[in-house]
């Protein structure tokens, strides 16, 4: 590697938010004229690293060299002045202004205090032609498709004469055709001497568009590879393949699989963006087994869980719990049918300003003995909370503390305690150990096994392969809203699942 070819060099970057370390001693360098992929699961620290380069976050330690000069980038303004542009997943645009006005927003021009729309229009026209970015400058942002809005975002960067372009998961909002056009545009940029950083969690994209790939995992750099010298399988292993730390499963204690507790038939659901996110998914979960849904984040898991728990409309298909059709039933009805739900974010299950007593009664507060004739029985609620707190080992001084003061692990324990201390037949657990420390993680995994051994059916959605492998009796892999394969744990290994997760059959 020639030293003078390096345009950006980030050395020893560390950044933590609160207690979690998002970037841990990361070193990364971008060469002139390359497309460099940043690959990793959600939460691996890709976006944080790039936000640091773009001046949105300040690193706790480490330094950044742009064109061999050490720089202290404190704002996007400074980043742009250094020739660094970034296109975020969430576009930074004013919907009620035109494309042209959005592009020149915040820029100075020669005719101040007047706007120089004519000059800008001309320049924009040239850029559009050069980079094959066809957008009507007079169109209003709100009229545009997502693909067009992304082009506007790229034009904004190009208009500011950047030489380094950071694209954060640019294809996540695009159709396959739009993605192809984007790739073509990226190649034009590179041919004209720009360097591109391409953030993605999709292996296929990393393989097809990049020259080199840096893989991040848990905030650290795992490896940097030249794309032409690596394989999809190797990248999959680097990205998700942490060592399986412990296998908790004690098969001896297993009860034989019981009757069908959850039956899902050709389920379809639509995401908030209006895209079909769950496509004809069918599976069963029996009492006394844990069925895992593995997959890279954002492949329809969220929508699937919401559709099963009544939080999102089912477009077509059926959801049957314990013989009762609960398709499109209200959350309350599903809950009372014996379904526990651990949502993917524990803050979606707890009311931070409420005490543990109130949080633990949230699901059944309107039924006896917690209330009668519409009046709460505080004493019963308090006693019940005390018992549950002791049983689930929630670390708290007493039951009247506010939920928001607890640590993540204890918050999750409160959620699980509430959702499993009533009589349930089925537990739907979405990423139950996300963001927790090892101790809490182990405790919760043990709890899931205990519940399974007690005959409860568990659907476990997780992006952690070690978790899936150590807990599940059967494993389903989801990719782009479809189930790609099913296997018993005995047949499963990381490589095989990783490939299915990446959308290529094993």
């Amino acid at each position: 590697m020639q030293r003078d070819a390096v345009v950006v060099s980030m050395e020893g970057i560390t950044k933590s938010f609160g207690g979690t370390t998002a970037n841990d001693d990361i070193s990364f360098c971008l060469e002139a004229g390359e497309i460099h992929g940043l690959l990793g699961e959600n939460g691996a620290g890709k976006t944080t690293l790039m936000n640091i380069l773009y001046g949105l976050h300040r690193p706790d330690s480490g330094c950044i060299l742009v064109n061999q000069v050490e720089r202290n980038i404190t704002s996007p303004h400074e980043a742009i002045a250094l020739g660094i542009g970034m296109v975020h997943q969430h576009f930074m645009q004013v919907p009620t202004l035109t494309v042209l006005d959005n592009v020149i927003l915040g820029l100075r021009n020669a005719r101040e205090p007047l706007l120089d729309r004519e000059g800008a229009r001309q320049r924009l026209g040239e850029l559009s032609a050069t980079y094959q970015l066809d957008v009507d400058p007079e169109a209003y942002i709100w009229q545009l498709s997502v693909g067009d809005r992304q082009r506007v975002e790229i034009l904004k960067a190009l208009y500011r004469d950047v030489s380094i372009l950071i694209l954060d998961e640019p294809t996540s909002v695009l159709t396959p055709q739009e993605a192809e056009e984007l790739f073509a545009m990226i190649r034009v940029c590179v041919n004209r001497g720009m360097s591109v950083i391409f953030i993605t969690h999709k292996l296929e994209e990393a393989m097809s568009i990049t020259d080199r790939v840096t893989v991040l995992r848990d905030g650290r750099v795992v490896a940097t590879r030249v794309t032409s010298e690596t394989t999809k399988a190797e990248l999959a292993r680097l990205m998700v393949g942490r060592e399986v730390l412990f296998r908790l499963s004690n098969d001896a204690a297993r009860s034989p699989a019981g009757p069908v507790a959850l039956e899902v038939e050709r389920l379809r659901a639509i995401s908030d963006r209006g895209v079909l996110a769950v496509r004809d998914v069918s599976f069963q979960v029996h009492g006394g087994e844990i069925v895992g849904i593995a997959g890279v984040d954002g492949n329809g898991q969220t929508e699937l869980v919401q559709a099963l728990t009544g939080l999102r409309p089912v477009e077509s298909g059926r959801v049957v719990v314990d013989g009762v059709d609960l398709t499109n039933a209200a959350p309350q009805r599903i809950l009372r049918q014996g379904v526990g739900h651990i949502p993917e974010d524990f803050d979606d299950a707890l009311v931070g300003a409420f005490t543990l007593v109130e949080n633990l009664a949230l699901d059944l507060h309107y039924t006896p003995p917690f209330s009668r004739w519409g009046v709460l029985n505080r004493e019963v609620m308090r006693q019940s909370a005390q018992q549950v707190i002791a049983r689930y080992d929630v670390r708290t001084p007493h039951e009247r503390v506010k939920a928001r003061t607890l640590s993540g692990g204890n918050k999750q324990k409160v959620v699980i305690a509430r959702e499993t201390s009533r009589a349930i037949k089925l537990l739907i657990a979405a990423h139950p150990t996300r963001g927790l420390d090892i101790g809490a993680e182990e405790y919760i995994r043990g709890l899931l096994l205990e519940l399974r051994n007690a005959g409860i059916a568990i659907l476990l959605v997780s992006t952690k392969l070690d978790e899936i492998l150590s807990l599940c009796d059967r494993i389903l892999v989801i990719e782009k809203g479809r189930l790609m394969g099913e296997m018993a744990r005995s047949e499963a290994d990381i490589e095989k699942i990783g490939l299915l997760m990446a959308g290529t059959g094993a």
Binding site: A330, D348, A349
Partner: protein, 304 residues
């Protein structure tokens, strides 16, 4: 100091001064409690003014046109009509928000003008007292009047009702299933959904309660004070109620004190001008400052 002394003395220093303060505090307290209930569910009801008018109109209709009832029936019926009127006027934006996701700030604000103008139409048209030279409605029958509690003052029974309701609202929010659900929806709507709380239903019930409380303020003004439907019988109590609720920290007992404070400011303004020649607008400036500072604190707390 002299000015503030005059303010305090005029508000609390005499029986009549105290009574007049409480007369003003009554609608502020009732509407403030209504706003409190809505805001606890994070439903930004700024339509208390309209709900006051709806309550006042309904109370006037029942108080004027239903005849031949003894006071023990007629008076409760009149007051109840006020609550129903306010509840209906609150139900509209509640329903629109719960079922059609229409922004409540717009609907509650706009509905104020609809009902205020409707009240004007009634007074100038169908409900006008033809015996009177000015545009007011006929008097309510005496059987529908809220009795005077302190003789030779305007201190009427509606004030006692308002104070009692502050305790009831506290109990509702803290000790009942509905109150628990209102607070849950307000604090974390997603968690409410996950836990099976029917959010839409809760919002609608919240607005029925909220509107009913503001409607009672209207009924108390009509049946306790004016004894007629008059143009602009509420000089913006419903808007001031938002400030009262926020200053009371959305706590029913806090709202009691906040309403009395604002009422004292309203009444004390004239006394201050007489005693220390402080112009009345200064009081309005103080009020404005209180509103700005309190809402700044409130919204910073909530978003932070």
């Amino acid at each position: 100091m002299q000015a503030y002394g005059a303010l305090v003395y005029s508000a609390f220093g005499s029986v009549n001064g105290f009574a007049e303060t409480m007369v003003k505090a009554c609608p502020l307290l009732l509407a403030g409690l209504g706003v409190t209930v809505a805001f606890r569910a994070r439903f930004w009801n700024i339509g208390a003014e309209g709900q006051i008018y709806a309550g006042g109109i309904m109370a006037a209709v029942v108080g004027i046109y239903i005849t031949g009832l003894p006071a023990v029936v007629h008076l409760p019926l009149t007051v109840l009509a006020g609550a129903v009127g306010g509840a209906l006027w609150g139900l509209v934006p509640g329903y629109l928000k719960a079922r059609l996701k229409v922004n409540e700030v717009i609907t509650t604000l706009m509905l104020n003008y609809v009902i205020i103008l409707l009240a004007g139409y009634l007074i100038h048209g169908p409900m006008r007292d033809r015996a009177s030279g000015i545009t007011i409605s006929p008097q309510l029958l005496q059987t529908a009047w809220l009795p005077t509690v302190i003789p030779r003052t305007r201190f009427h029974a509606g004030i006692l009702l308002a104070l009692a309701l502050a305790v009831v609202v506290y109990w509702l929010l803290e000790r009942t299933v509905l109150g628990f659900q209102i607070r849950t929806v307000g604090e974390n709507e997603r968690a409410a959904r996950v836990a099976g709380v029917r959010v839409g239903r809760t919002i609608i019930l919240t607005m029925i309660v909220s509107g009913a409380l503001a409607g009672l303020a209207g009924a108390a003004e009509v049946a306790g004070l004016q004894h007629r439907l008059v143009d602009e019988f509420s000089p913006g109590y419903g808007f001031l109620a938002v400030a009262v609720a926020l200053l009371g920290n959305l706590h029913p007992i806090g709202v009691v004190f906040a309403s009395v404070l604002f009422a004292a400011l309203l009444n004390g303004a004239d006394a201050m001008q007489r005693a220390a020649s402080v112009p009345v607008p200064v009081i309005f400036v103080i009020e404005g400052l209180v509103i700005v500072l309190v809402s700044a604190r409130f919204f910073r707390q909530r978003s932070g």
